[in-house]
């Protein structure tokens, strides 16, 4: 085990898979010579050549479409979309093709592709380099969506995703790339898709989160407990689809209180789905309203710092929400 940055854990996961399995290939804009605009794929083209690390033309629909075709013909493609904000041109290939290939062929074909893409804000990325539009994909049957923030989880889920026989959208928080550090096991480490992780154990209130807002949630929980005592559980979803509703329900049935926190816009975000599951299946256990804290329903983080700051929810906001819910 070694301590690694989130970005290093992901790079290692990629390099390991490329090294061990000739079917693994990478395709995306600037992933080759440049090693990706965030440097996730740095050095891989030198080692594995231009047919396994493909600097694609500037065309996201093509990137995903080619990955689907290559997967049909025996490869395990890992496509990179440079920013999640630029995935919409590929929506048809993702929703109509990757998500439905297995189903429409009655299981004859499959689509073992991974779409890696940086998401999230807080880095002055403005409207088109900050978005968290994962809910668009979590609604689509046939897709899987993961959003690990812990480096070990990221490496383990990446390996699982590469070998998963279904299409997986792999979300990498760009603010976390070089700010989150953790112990990462060396070789062959996998984390199952669809399983949440209890990031902090507790018994009075459950926070359900993922991504950078998980980090803020942990900090808020610490601060709250330090001041008020009590015990707060924090769940890191890691996988958004399939969602680990068992883990969520188990925790909420124990604590009676649920606070859902995410960076995506509130309306129609995955938080709504989680709240609905809790409200329906843990109704009798609830000691307070299922509460959501999420981004305001504004297109995305504006560029100017005061506006970006106004958009962001931080540990103080989360702490205030804990206080309100705990006091209910």
């Amino acid at each position: 085990m070694a301590t690694k940055l989130l970005i290093e854990a992901i790079r290692d996961g990629l390099a390991e898979a490329m090294d061990q399995d000739e079917r693994v290939m990478i395709i995306g804009e600037d992933v080759g010579r440049r090693g990706g605009v965030f440097r996730v794929t740095e050095g891989l083209m030198d080692t594995y050549g231009e047919m396994r690390v493909v600097d694609s033309p500037l065309a996201e629909s093509l990137i995903v479409g080619v990955a689907i075709g290559a997967a049909a013909n025996g490869m395990l493609p890992v496509a990179e979309i440079q920013f999640l904000d630029f995935i919409p041109p590929a929506m048809d290939q993702l929703m109509s093709e990757a998500a439905k290939l297995r189903y429409r062929s009655n299981g004859d074909w499959d689509c073992p592709i991974v779409i890696r893409t940086p998401y999230g804000g807080g880095i002055h990325g403005a409207l088109y380099h900050s978005q968290s539009i994962e809910a668009v994909f979590t609604h689509i049957p046939g897709l899987k969506v993961v959003a690990p923030i812990d480096p070990a989880d990221a490496k383990g889920l990446l390996t699982s995703a590469i070998y998963d026989p279904d299409p997986v959208i792999f979300l990498e928080h760009k603010k976390g790339y070089r700010s989150i550090r953790g112990e990462v096991p060396d070789n062959g480490h996998t984390v199952p898709i669809g399983k949440a992780r209890i990031a902090r154990e507790g018994s009075d209130l459950t926070i359900i989160s993922y991504g950078m807002y998980l980090q803020e949630s942990l900090a808020a929980a610490d601060a709250y407990v330090e001041e008020h005592g009590g015990s707060i559980e924090v769940i890191d979803l890691r996988s958004l689809k399939p969602l680990d509703s068992d883990a969520i329900l188990e925790s909420v049935m124990k604590t009676g209180k649920a606070l859902i926190v995410h960076e995506a816009n509130m309306f129609g975000g995955i938080g709504g789905e989680i709240a609905a599951i809790i409200a329906e299946h843990a109704f009798a256990y609830l000691d307070g309203p299922v509460t959501r804290l999420a981004s305001p329903d504004v297109p995305a983080m504006p560029f100017s710092p005061p506006l970006e700051q106004a958009f962001v929810r931080d540990k103080n906001d989360i702490r205030a929400a804990i206080e309100k819910l705990a006091a209910f």
Binding site: P57, A59, G65, A70, A72, N73, R104, S105, N106, G142
Partner: protein
């Protein structure tokens, strides 16, 4: 080997027997297609989409490929190509009647969505042009492994307006991939005529933006199409890259069983269109060079009729899907591709 005379003469490396096989494929496709149309009109199937008028283009191109190793990425009119790649008449009818045993989709897709992993026919969706990048990706994988596999993908004139067509052509040409882009130009996208679909006279002109050979060919004449496709396939197999083939065909039916083309095609145009078709043109070719006899044709048509009847009856007697299977195959049941 045969030099096939006609307008224009073409040299093709097919024996008379192979030419007959090619024509037989067209006859079979037409017979199945007509039966499907009939089943729809008789209320036995809620939907039909036809390839009538496209058989020459597909048979010609299909015979230039090697179904034992090449790939097909079809669109909904590519019945002839699917048959060439190994789809059987029973497979077609099980699909048409949406039976559980439909090997194309288990009754999940509308008719016309041919698929078979065993035969390397990639399952397609209904959205137009999305399959074109898939064909390109398949060819990329082959090239990455050093294989000389060729991939053919079919699509209509309307499909050329979608970005996916252009993105795929570009990529295929940059990497000199073994793809045959077969545009079956029937002059219409549902009701929209070619002059409202594109600025160019010839779909083949799109090849110029991709430094790729682009050829326009009479799609009613399977032999001419074969000649053009053979050259393209040889080129692809040598690793010299893709070709765009525009085959001029006729859509002899309305767009689908839900359409009424009399609302946008004049009576004269409809009549004129039906004055000839790929079966007649290809038959004339083969007759001229003596590859066909009336006897052979008679016998063959009988054999095909039997096949089509058998396929229809087989499908009719085959059970519908079990409603309990609705949620199967959304995701893999088990495991990993490790």
């Amino acid at each position: 080997m045969a030099t096939v005379s006609g307008r224009p003469d073409v040299d093709v490396d097919l024996t008379h027997e192979q030419l007959r096989e090619m024509y037989e494929l067209m006859l079979l496709a037409r017979a199945l297609d007509e039966r499907m149309w009939l089943l729809n009109r008789a209320g036995q199937a809620p939907f039909a989409v036809s390839g009538q008028g496209h058989e020459g283009a597909q048979a010609g191109a299909g015979f230039a490929l090697d179904p034992s190793k090449d790939w097909l990425v079809p669109y909904y009119r590519d019945l002839t190509l699917a048959l060439r790649f190994g789809t059987s008449p029973r497979d077609v009818m099980l699909h048409m009647l949406a039976r559980a045993a439909d090997p194309n989709s288990g009754g999940r897709q509308m008719p016309g969505h041919y698929s078979s992993k065993a035969h390397r026919i990639l399952s397609g969706s209904s959205p137009i042009a999305t399959q074109i990048p898939h064909a390109t990706g398949i060819a990329f994988a082959a090239k990455a492994r050093g294989e000389d596999t060729v991939v053919i993908t079919g699509f209509g004139d309307g499909a050329t307006s979608e970005g996916d067509f252009h993105e795929a052509m570009n990529f295929a040409s940059i990497y000199k991939l073994g793809v045959i882009f077969l545009c079956e130009n029937n002059g219409y996208a549902i009701s929209v005529p070619q002059k409202k679909q594109m600025a160019v006279e010839r779909v083949a002109d799109y090849a110029k933006g991709y430094d790729m050979p682009g050829v326009t060919v009479d799609g009613l004449d399977a032999v001419e199409v074969y000649a053009v496709a053979k050259e393209a396939v040889d080129r692809a197999r040598r690793g010299e890259g893709p070709t765009l083939i525009e085959a001029i065909v006729r859509r002899l039916t309305p767009h689908s069983s839900d359409d009424d083309d009399r609302t946008y095609r004049s009576a004269e145009e409809l009549e004129d269109m039906h004055s000839s078709g790929p079966l007649r043109v290809t038959r004339n070719r083969l007759m001229e060079i003596g590859a066909l006899s009336d006897d052979w044709e008679q016998e063959t048509k009988e054999r095909i009729k039997t096949l089509v009847n058998d396929a229809t009856e087989h499908a009719e007697q085959s059970p519908l899907p079990d409603p309990g299977t609705l949620a199967d195959h959304v995701y893999a049941k088990d495991g990993s591709r490790m």
